[in-house]
């Protein structure tokens, strides 16, 4: 049941890529344990943990009672006692009951003990929208974690990164919030599981471009790429952050300085968000290179809407193109 020939890239869905990462991590390290709601025999509501209980047994992958604070709090204790828990929050908004455990303990424990005891644990969150879900199933909750000092916050956009970054997250000595763009769970892409585990904290230029830089992460990377492809007469680059904390200022700023124009694309409501942070730091650090204000194309400052309205809420290609249009091209050479 392990990965096919690991030297060859294979086509996998994102759900399967994550499943493979869990499987490979559990094989490599007997201290890795997976638990949460419905992750056992059912294999998770998105089948991300499919087959893990069958392969590794009920002590390595198991269902818990239905309580998210309980799941995260128990994981804290297990990490204190030598295990590497990887827990699943069933949906973004259902991680909120665990917020105190995350903000007051998970994030602070290593610092509290002056580094004498750290918490190697991963909190997986299927997150963001675009699946026509009912309320509470589509929140983009990354700002809550990114603002909480002590957490590492990772948001893969590709299946290869979902695999690689999850392996890295599980190996991290510190707690990682791992945000899985659930709308891409069933998209297939090539994944090579034989490549070395990448470091966390490096953004990547997904598409070079000389005129504008689009900055995105997780579910909006494909949106940014599509917008870049559609932008007429402009050479648009796309940076995929991959990790929100730590933040890769170097890669982001190098690209923005090159283009002098930037648009941040993110699904979460824009106010006091990760997009605000990106816009603020790019505006500050690239000030003398900017030809136009940094624009943000984000979700509106509203609760995630019912399915019939989500297409109006989510930052789509047109809205990104409109934002690019406002970047003061009249002054441009």
């Amino acid at each position: 049941m392990s990965t096919a020939d690991p030297t060859e890239p294979v086509k996998l869905t994102m759900a399967r890529s994550i499943n493979t990462a869990l499987r490979d991590a559990m094989t490599a390290d007997p201290t890795v344990v997976v638990f949460g709601e419905d992750v056992g025999p059912l294999g998770g509501v998105f089948r991300v943990t499919d087959g893990l209980t069958a392969q590794f047994g009920d002590r390595r992958c198991f269902d818990t009672p239905l309580a998210e604070s309980g799941i995260v709090g128990t994981a804290v204790g297990m990490a204190m006692n030598g295990l590497r828990p990887v827990v699943e929050m069933q949906f973004d908004a259902f991680a909120y009951p665990a917020f105190e455990q995350i903000a007051s303990h998970v994030a602070k424990f290593g610092n509290r003990t002056s580094g004498r005891m750290r918490l190697p644990m991963v909190i997986r969150v299927p997150y963001a929208g675009g699946i026509g879900g009912v309320e509470h199933h589509c929140d983009s909750s990354e700002a809550y974690y990114a603002h909480t000092a002590g957490l590492t916050v990772v948001a893969p956009a590709t299946n290869a990164d979902a695999y690689g970054l999850l392996r890295a997250a599980i190996e991290s000595p510190d707690p990682v919030v791992f945000l899985e763009p659930k709308k891409h769970y069933f998209t297939k892409e090539e994944v090579n599981t034989a490549v070395p585990v990448p470091p966390i904290g490096r953004a990547v230029l997904r598409r070079p471009g000389a005129d504008v830089t689009l900055i995105a992460y997780g579910p909006t990377v494909p949106v940014a790429l599509a917008a870049a492809a559609e932008a007429e007469g402009l050479d648009v680059g796309v940076v995929d952050l991959r990790s929100i904390v730590p933040f890769d200022d170097e890669t982001v700023c190098a690209q923005v300085r090159r283009t002098g124009r930037a648009v941040v694309v993110a699904e979460a409501p824009g106010f006091a968000s990760v997009a605000s942070e990106i816009a603020a730091r790019v505006s500050e650090r690239c000030f003398h290179h900017l030809e136009a204000p940094v624009r943000r194309v984000t979700g509106f400052d509203v609760p995630y809407p019912p399915p019939k309205l989500e297409q109006h809420h989510l930052p789509g290609v047109d809205r990104v193109l409109d934002a690019i249009d406002t970047l003061g091209w009249e002054d441009a050479a």
């Binding site: 709601e37 419905d38 009672p65 809407p305 109006h312 809420h313 409109d322």
Partner: protein, 352 residues
Amino acid sequence: MPDRQETVRLLEPDGTAVPGAELPAPARLLEGYRALVRARRLNEQAGALVRQGRLAVYPSSRGQEACQVAAAMVLSGADWLFPTYRDTAAIVARGVDPVEVLTMLRGDRHCGYDVAAHRVAPQATPLATQLLHAVGVAHAARLKDEPTVVMALCGDGATSEGDFHEALNFAAVFRAPVVFLVQNNKYAISVPLHRQSAAARLADKAVGYGMPGVRVDGNDLAALLSVLDDAVDRAGAGEGPTLVEADTYRMEAHTNADDAGRYRDESEVASWAGRDPLRRVRAWLTGAGHLDAAAEQAVADDAEAMAAALRTGIAAEGPVDPEELFAHVYAHPTPQLREQRDLLRAELEVTP
């Protein structure tokens, strides 16, 4: 209050009355039977609408209809009902138009009915959170000396959440007029009861809050009416909350999106088919001469009419105004939301 060890049952699965049982009045059982048939029909119709792509998803209460109906029947107009995603049939039994309830699952809005007018809270998704709201409504009624009783529903899985604990404790300390009805349908999605709790009975959780706990056959409408009537009376008399555990079973998968074959045997489901909540009331009513073929036909026609109206109503699908995105976030949209609305408005003027 019944003894801690027993499970209250008034009608045997075959519809014979338990010896010595004080049954609700036949007219009430007949009214209940009509509601049960409607509830069953509602579950079937909603399931069909999902298969036709008219609804996104539907969590069926098939097998739990007696709980659904009893929860609504024991309430007066001044009382409140706090349902979950699974309790559509209870809301309908309270008198809300099924179309209004299901526009939520058609994707139009988060809650399609008028919460204040019906005194039915929005269907709660975040588990156990609504129990606290129920306590708040009840406690406010008590502070205002209003004769309101609140019926709060949740599942067996939800009893594990911290909010369940806080709600029961607040209710007990405040002596709030609230009845907690746990529909123990044996599963939380795929997780069976024994991995949810090591307690012998969920009703025993009441002990730790200093409130009475009663376990009732959740497929026995007569027993449910009797137990819930008592609990509602007790709450109304200022004697505080009651925890009622209904022993029932989720006959279908968690929702249509779920694959129950991954975690339970068909044989288990089949064994519960023998405890069907409709059949036993019907058997008793028929046996006692309160339900003849004509009356049975009227009950079926009534349910069928409801299903037809539901099909029509759900099919009569109109567009949702995109500006609804911004209209209700605050009583008065903030300058930021007005700006964002204007942006969307401009976009829609270009490509409507």
